[in-house]
Amino acid sequence: MTTDTLPSIDWMSEDFQTDVARACEAIAPYQTGSGLVRSSRGIEIVNYDLALKIVRDPKFSLAMPARLRTIGITDGAAAHSFMNFLFSREGADHLRARRACTPWFTASGAEKLRQQTREWVEQWMDENRSNYGDLDFLAKVSNRLPSTLFCLMIGAPFSDAEFIQHMSEELMLLTAPPMPGNAERIEDAAAKTRAYLLDQAEKRRQDPGDDLLSHMVRVRDTGEIDDDDVLAVVFNALVGSTDTTSSQICLNLEALAANPDQWELLKKEPSLVSNAVMELVRYNPGAWSVQRSPYEPMEFEGLYITPEDTLFPCVFAGNNDASVYPDPRKLDITRELGSSPLNFGTGRHGCLGRMITLMEQEEVLLAAAKKWKSFSVVDSNFSGKMFSTTPTSFRLSVVPESE
């Protein structure tokens, strides 16, 4: 079998540039059979089982060289930083860096941040009560929360949150459809981010605290890891810190606004929030697809593929695969998920910030369920469809609960 024999889709068509619902409808006919289709960007993996298989498989990389090449980045701060990325590493280099930072990214590590997260979200919602008629939720909460939390995690001043948010957004352009000017923006952001993180690391070395960066610097000073290992973790964490979580927070609310029965159920039973978040990320994922390339030429599901090939495990498709999640376009916050949605990957390169982003999403929903009687979406715009989406606007009209 060759890629020419695969059915094809146009990832830039309206079918795949509108919303997840329309994309799921368009991809459904291809989810049985081989689960492989081709497009102008590469090979699309469109059923759950095959997507999971490839994401886990150590014969596949996260296609960083291909991503950089597609955007036109060959050297400089961006190439160095992304090739040094935690997710670009394998074997001992990967383990050494991931082992050093693990305590911050476990369930209990995330729990330590929950109380502060809750206080911030509730405070910001209360501060903006007078704007509830037209609330810029993106600026006031969903961009603000993950970036401020990242500052807390690395011991940086909270006033750096806007810089963190902007850098996250710019660096995530690596996962966006390639556009003119993106290479320059990514290079600029990579240079600034690298300089910022090295400066923050030196500040933590001079005045250590009880934060991730202080810890990484302490371990670096023992010789167990080096500066590149420290950056591999914190640069990776910064890139994934804001844009991804902000997008998912907004998408979760958008889905609940469109499914008022589920919103009412969550208000009535807030203890459902953990399951609700997992169902919401399944139903309306912020990351529509991820990327993989084989390390060596190989046969994959009857196809001969090489490191020049880019494969796109489609999260939106796998998460809405009816053979795994019956009636997938029904939002049901009580759904027994069984198989884990594909958003966070699985295996050695599973999402570093998984437990933290889930906690953030839970706290936003808990605060909204507590403080809002109802809400509707005034304006909603996301760029990056078929890749990793970025919210460009998200405004709500909120009816508060009476005080």
Binding site: S108, S340, T346
Partner: protein, 66 residues
């Protein structure tokens, strides 16, 4: 004295980081952890198994000395 793996399957979220120790951990059909070997972990495997256990984001894995 030996070291054994125990897994709290109810806590497992299917992150699969443990599969870096591929001789000892896999995920089953529903994406939950499977401990592949019973008995004591061999001394040569202990470092990698220890990493796999500590890296579990759900903290579902434990090493128990007996």
């Amino acid at each position: 004295m030996g070291t054994r793996i125990s897994a709290e399957k109810s806590k497992c979220i299917g992150a699969g980081l443990c599969t870096i120790a591929a001789e000892h951990f896999d995920l089953d059909g529903s994406g939950k952890v499977v401990v592949l070997q019973e008995g004591d972990v061999e001394a040569g495997d202990l470092s990698l198994v220890s990493d796999a256990v500590s890296m579990c984001p759900a903290e579902a894995l434990h090493l128990n000395q007996h």
